[in-house]
C-alpha cells in the first residue's frame, strides 16, 4: 500500500502490472483470432493443391494400368513419389490403395499408422476427390478409374502440422512484437512517471528539507497543469506566503530602524530582526529561487529511442552491405562487407573523446542535438545508398552521431548523478542501451523481413527525429555544470605503463569486443543467411539472445562479484566462456549451435563486463587519484574499441581461408587464446606492489 511519491519503484511496479494486463491479453486475443482465421483460409487452398497433385498422379497411374500393369505390380513408386514430396513441403505422404482400401504403396510416412483407417473407410463409387481427416493428416483420395473400371484410389496427405507450423511462426512474430511493445511501454511509462511525478516530487522533497532547516529561499520549479502541478503550486504558495510576510516585516523593520527617533526601540527592533534572521533564511534576491533537479532518467527515453534506431539494422547489416557490394581494389569481398562495420566502430572510437569534451563544455543537451544531425542523415542516406562506397560514408556519419549522443548521455548522467549514486546512473545508461538492443534487434529483423532493408532504415530515421523532438522539448536547457576538465592525452600513457591495466585491456577487454563485433555483428548474419530455412525474423530472434542474456546475467553477476570479490577470476572465466562459445561450431552443426554460442557470449559478457570496470579502482589506484576514475574508465572503453574495429576485419580475413563456420571457429581460437593469457596473468595480479584499497564507486 505504501506509495511514496518521490520514489519511482512502488508506483512503477503497479503501473507495470497494469501494462501487462492491458497489452498482453489483447495481443493474445488478436493472435488467436488471426490463427483461427488463418487455418480456415489456408485449408481450402491446401485441399485444392492436394487435389491438383492427386489428379496428376492419378493420370500417370491410370495410364500405366491401362497398359495392362496390375495396380499392385506398379514398379518404382518410391522414386515416382519422392520428387513430388520433395517439391511440396506441405504434402506429407502419397499413397495408392486398392478398391478394398489395402495400402499398396506409400511414401512419406509409415503405412501402419493409417492403413487401418483405409480398410475401414468406404470410398464408395464416387468419382470425385474425397477428403477425410486422418489424425494429424488431411487425406485427399482420388479414385483410379481405368478401362476395367475403378481399381483403387490415390491418396495425397497434407500435414495439418504444416498449417500449425505456419501459425507458430506468426505466434512467434507476435511474441516478439509484444515483448518489444512491453519494453517500449516500460521505457515510455518510466519516463512519464519520473517526468511527471517522482521527478517533481523529488524536487519538492529537496525544498521541504531546506524548509525544515528554516530555509525559505527556494521553490520547486514545476509548472505542469496536472495534480502534481496543482500541488506544487499550493506548496510554493505557502513558501511564497512566508516569504511575502518576511519581506513585509523586513520593510517595516527598515522603516522603523531608519525613521524611529527612539534608539531604545531601534535597538529592540534590531533584536527582533536578528532573531528572525537567525531562525530563518530567505532569499537575498527578494524572490525564492526555483530548484530544478536533473536526474539520470531524464535522458533515458531519448537514449533508448536512439539506440533502438541504430540497433534496428543490427541483424541484417552485413546482408544489406552484401546486397550493395561493389569491389574495392585490394580487398577481398568479405573484407569489403566487414569494412563498414569496422569503420563504424573506428569512427565511434575516434570521435568519442572529443565528443565527451564537447559535452563537458557546451552541455549534454546541445551535443545530443548536434549528434542527431549526422545520425539522421546517416540513416536516411543508408536507406537510399547506391553501393557499398557511399554506404560506408553514411554509416560513418551515423557513427559520428552515435559517438556524440552516447558521450552526451554519459556526460549528462555523470554530471547529474554526482548528486546521487553514480552506480545507479550507470545502471540507467546500461539499462537503456540493453533494452534498446533487445527491441531494436528483434523488431528490426521482423520488420525488414516484411518491408525490406531500406524501409527499415527510414523507420530508424523517423525514430531519431522523434528523439530530437523529445530532447528539444523536454530536456531542460539549463544544464548542470561539468565537474572536472578532461586530463591531457599524455596522462593516458601512464595508464598503459601500468601492466595490470594493459593486460586487462589487451587480453580481456579487446577480445570480448572482437567476439562481439566479429562474431555477432558480422559473422552470425552472414552464416545464418546461408541457410534458406532461416528468414530475417528468425535471425533477429536468434541475435536477440545476446542482449537478453546480458540483461539477465549482469545483475546476478554484479551481486555475485560483490560477495565474492574475485573480480579478476570472473573476468577470466567470462573471457574463456566467450572463446569456447565461438569454438562450438567445430563440434556441432552451426545452425543448431549458433544460438547456443550467442547465449554463451551474452553470459560471458555479463560475467566479465562489470567486474572489468569494478577492477579499475584496485588496479589503477594511483592513476584514478590523479586523473579521476571516470577518465580512467573512459580510457578503458576507448581502448577496448580497438577490438570492435578489429573484430569484423579479422573475421573477414578468416572467411576466404576457412569459410563462414571456420571463421567463427578461428575467431573463437583467437579469443580463447587471448583470454587464457589473461587467465594466467591474472594470477600474478596479487604479486608485486599492490595497494589494497577500499576505494569504492
Amino acid at each position: 500500500m505504501a506509495m511514496t511519491l518521490d520514489r519511482t519503484r512502488p508506483l512503477f511496479i503497479r503501473l507495470l502490472l497494469l501494462v501487462l494486463i492491458v497489452l498482453v491479453p489483447p495481443v493474445a486475443w488478436v493472435t488467436i483470432d488471426a490463427m483461427a482465421e488463418f487455418s480456415q483460409g489456408l485449408i481450402p487452398e491446401m485441399d485444392k493443391k492436394a487435389e491438383t497433385i492427386g489428379r496428376d498422379l492419378e493420370a500417370s497411374i491410370e495410364r500405366a494400368v491401362n497398359f495392362g500393369i496390375p495396380l499392385d505390380k506398379l514398379e518404382g513408386m518410391g522414386e515416382f513419389f519422392s520428387p513430388v514430396l520433395a517439391a511440396n513441403p506441405e504434402i506429407r505422404y502419397l499413397a495408392v490403395t486398392d478398391r478394398k482400401g489395402n495400402v499398396l504403396f506409400m511414401q512419406g510416412i509409415d503405412k501402419a499408422s493409417i492403413e487401418s483407417f483405409y480398410t475401414s473407410a468406404d470410398f464408395g463409387e464416387v468419382d470425385h476427390a474425397h477428403k477425410s481427416i486422418l489424425g494429424p493428416f488431411i487425406d485427399m483420395a482420388q479414385p483410379l478409374v481405368t478401362k476395367a473400371g475403378r481399381v483403387g484410389q490415390v491418396h495425397v496427405g497434407t500435414d495439418q502440422d504444416y498449417v500449425r507450423e505456419r501459425l507458430m511462426e506468426i505466434a512467434i512474430d507476435l511474441a516478439v512484437v509484444t515483448l518489444v511493445a512491453l519494453l517500449i511501454a516500460v521505457e515510455i511509462l518510466l519516463f512519464v512517471v519520473t517526468f511527471n511525478i517522482t521527478g517533481p516530487m523529488r524536487v519538492v522533497g529537496t525544498v521541504i528539507d531546506k524548509v525544515r532547516r528554516g530555509d525559505f529561499g527556494f521553490m520547486a520549479g514545476v509548472t505542469s497543469d496536472d495534480e502534481v502541478g496543482r500541488f506544487v503550486h499550493g506548496f510554493n504558495g505557502a513558501i511564497r506566503y512566508a516569504d511575502t510576510l518576511f519581506r513585509r516585516l523586513e520593510a517595516y523593520l527598515d522603516e522603523v530602524k531608519s525613521a524611529h527617533f527612539d534608539p531604545g526601540v531601534v535597538e529592540q527592533v534590531r533584536d527582533i530582526e536578528s532573531r528572525v534572521k537567525f531562525l530563518f533564511r530567505f532569499a537575498r534576491t527578494g524572490q525564492p529561487e526555483t530548484v530544478n533537479e536533473h536526474q539520470a532518467t531524464d535522458i533515458r527515453l531519448p537514449l533508448f529511442l536512439f539506440v533502438f534506431a541504430e540497433e534496428i539494422s543490427r541483424s541484417f547489416m552485413p546482408l544489406y552491405i552484401r546486397d550493395l557490394y561493389a569491389p574495392i581494389p585490394g580487398l577481398s569481398p568479405e573484407m569489403v562487407i566487414g569494412l563498414p562495420i569496422a569503420l563504424f566502430m573506428l569512427v565511434i572510437a575516434l570521435a568519442s573523446p572529443s565528443a565527451a569534451m564537447l559535452a563537458n563544455r557546451v552541455g549534454a543537451r546541445r551535443v545530443f542535438l548536434i549528434g542527431l544531425v549526422p545520425a539522421t542523415i546517416g540513416f536516411v542516406m543508408s536507406a537510399l545508398a547506391m553501393s557499398v562506397y557511399d554506404l560506408i560514408l553514411w554509416r560513418m556519419a551515423t557513427a559520428l552521431g552515435y559517438a556524440f549522443i552516447t558521450m552526451a548521455c554519459q556526460g549528462y548522467i555523470a554530471q547529474v548523478s554526482h548528486q546521487q549514486k553514480r552506480a545507479q546512473g550507470l545502471g540507467v545508461y546500461v539499462g537503456a542501451v540493453l533494452t534498446a538492443s533487445v527491441c531494436g534487434t528483434g523488431f528490426g529483423g521482423v520488420l525488414a523481413e516484411r518491408v525490406g532493408y531500406r524501409t527499415t532504415f527510414w523507420v530508424a530515421a523517423i525514430l531519431t527525429i522523434v528523439t530530437a523532438v523529445l530532447i528539444y522539448r523536454l530536456l531542460d536547457s539549463a544544464q548542470p555544470n561539468a565537474e572536472t576538465a578532461a586530463p591531457r592525452k599524455r596522462e593516458f600513457l601512464r595508464l598503459l605503463r601500468n601492466w595490470r591495466f594493459s593486460v586487462l585491456v589487451a587480453f580481456a577487454a579487446i577480445p570480448s569486443k572482437i567476439a562481439l563485433t566479429g562474431f555477432l555483428f558480422f559473422l552470425v548474419p552472414l552464416t545464418l543467411s546461408q541457410n534458406p530455412n532461416i528468414d530475417l525474423g528468425d535471425m533477429a530472434r536468434i541475435m536477440m539472445a545476446y542482449p537478453i542474456s546480458v540483461v539477465l546475467m549482469s545483475p546476478l553477476v554484479a551481486r555475485f562479484a560483490d560477495h565474492v570479490g574475485w573480480k579478476a577470476g570472473l573476468v577470466a572465466v567470462g573471457g574463456l566462456i566467450g572463446g569456447a562459445a565461438l569454438v562450438l561450431p567445430f563440434f556441432w552443426e552451426p545452425v543448431v549451435v549458433i544460438p547456443v554460442s550467442i547465449w554463451l557470449l551474452g553470459i560471458s559478457q555479463g560475467l566479465s563486463a562489470s567486474p572489468q570496470l569494478a577492477m579499475i579502482p584496485d588496479l589503477c589506484w594511483t592513476e584514478c587519484r590523479i586523473m579521476g576514475q571516470t577518465n580512467v574508465l573512459a580510457f578503458l572503453r576507448l581502448a577496448e574499441r580497438v577490438g570492435s574495429f578489429a573484430g569484423p576485419l579479422l573475421a573477414a580475413c578468416f572467411i576466404p581461408a576457412y569459410g563462414y563456420n571456420g571463421a567463427i571457429i578461428a575467431l573463437g581460437v583467437v579469443v580463447a587464446g587471448l583470454a587464457s593469457v589473461f587467465a594466467l596473468l591474472s594470477f600474478a595480479y596479487h604479486a608485486g606492489p599492490h595497494i589494497e584499497t577500499e576505494w569504492g564507486e
Binding site: 488478436v30 506468426i170 497543469d225 526601540v265
Partner: protein
C-alpha cells in the same frame, strides 16, 4: 498571541488553487492507449503479411504445378519431333485444365517469337504476348524454374517450353485473378480489424479505469496534503495525516509545521515591531 489570533488573515495569503487541466491519469492513459493501439496495429500488420505470403505462395505453387503438368505434356510431344505450332492437341489440354478450375482466367502457349499459338481464349490466338512474358522465357537462366509476373489485375505463372535440342521453343503461362488471392485475404483482414477494434476498445477502458484508480490515489494523496497545508495554514493544527503516512508525508508534515511556525513567528515579530512602533 494564540494561533487563532492570526489565523484570520493567513488564508488569504495563499494563492488560489490552480485548476487541473491535464490530470495525471489522462496523460498516462493517452500514452498507454497509444502504445496499445500501436502494438495492436503492429501485431495485425505482421499477422496479415505472414498470412499473405503463405497464402499467395500456396496459390502460386498450385498453379505452377498445373503449368508444370502442361509443360510436361507439351514437351513430350515436342520430343516426338513436332513443331510447337503443329501440336493441335495442346489446345485441348489447356482447355481441359481451365475447365477444371473456374479461377483460371486463361492458359496460353506462345512460341519463341512471342506469338500466341494456343489460348483458352481462342480469340487471342495469333496475337503477341506482353514483353514481360517474352522476356521471361528468353532470359530465364534456368529452363525448369517457373516465373511469375503481375499484369494489371492478373497474376501469371509460367514456364518455358524446351525441346530436346535444349532450345526454348516458347512458353506456357496461366493467368489467375489477383482478386482471387485478395478474396482469400479479405476475410482475414475484416476479422483482424474487428478483433483489433474490439480489443483496443475493451482494453482501453481497462487501461483508463486502472490508471484512474492508480493515479486517483496519487491525486487524492496530493489533494489531501494540499488540503492539510491550506487548513493548517489558515486554521492551524497538526499536519500528520490519519493512519501515519509514509516518510514523504512525514517530511511534508514537518514542512507544514515549520512553515506554519515561521509564518506565526514572523507575524508575531511584525506585531511586536508594530507595538514598539506605536509605543510613542
Amino acid at each position: 498571541m494564540g494561533h487563532s489570533s492570526v489565523a484570520g488573515g493567513s488564508g488569504a495569503g495563499l494563492p488560489p488553487a490552480r485548476p487541473v487541466r491535464w490530470s495525471l491519469a489522462r496523460k498516462v492513459s493517452l500514452a498507454l492507449v497509444s502504445i496499445l493501439l500501436f502494438t495492436q496495429l503492429m501485431a495485425a500488420f505482421f499477422a496479415y503479411y505472414k498470412f499473405e505470403s503463405v497464402y499467395s505462395s500456396l496459390v502460386q505453387s498450385r498453379y505452377s504445378f498445373v503449368v508444370f503438368t502442361i509443360k510436361k505434356r507439351v514437351e513430350d510431344n515436342l520430343n516426338l519431333g513436332f513443331a510447337l505450332r503443329q501440336l493441335r492437341q495442346v489446345q485441348e489440354i489447356i482447355e481441359r485444365e481451365k475447365s477444371r478450375d473456374a479461377q483460371i482466367l486463361a492458359v496460353e502457349v506462345y512460341d519463341f517469337r512471342g506469338e500466341v499459338l494456343f489460348d483458352t481464349d481462342r480469340g487471342a490466338i495469333g496475337t503477341k504476348v506482353a514483353d514481360s512474358l517474352f522476356e521471361a522465357i528468353r532470359t530465364g537462366s534456368s529452363q525448369s524454374l517457373s516465373f511469375s509476373v503481375i499484369d494489371e489485375d492478373n497474376l501469371i505463372v509460367g514456364l518455358p517450353l524446351v525441346n530436346n535440342l535444349g532450345k526454348v521453343e516458347g512458353g506456357v503461362v496461366l493467368r489467375y485473378p489477383i482478386a482471387y488471392v485478395e478474396k482469400g485475404l479479405s476475410g482475414l483482414m475484416v476479422q483482424l480489424s474487428k478483433s483489433i477494434a474490439m480489443a483496443v476498445a475493451v482494453f482501453s477502458v481497462v487501461a483508463v479505469l486502472g490508471l484512474y484508480i492508480l493515479f486517483g490515489g496519487v491525486g487524492r494523496k496530493l489533494g489531501s496534503m494540499e488540503q492539510t497545508l491550506t487548513e493548517v495554514m489558515s486554521v492551524g493544527g497538526q499536519a500528520i495525516p490519519e493512519g501515519g503516512g509514509d516518510a514523504f508525508e512525514e517530511r511534508f508534515a514537518e514542512f507544514v509545521a515549520k512553515t506554519r511556525e515561521t509564518v506565526d513567528h514572523i507575524r508575531d515579530a511584525t506585531e511586536e515591531v508594530g507595538r514598539l512602533d506605536r509605543l510613542q
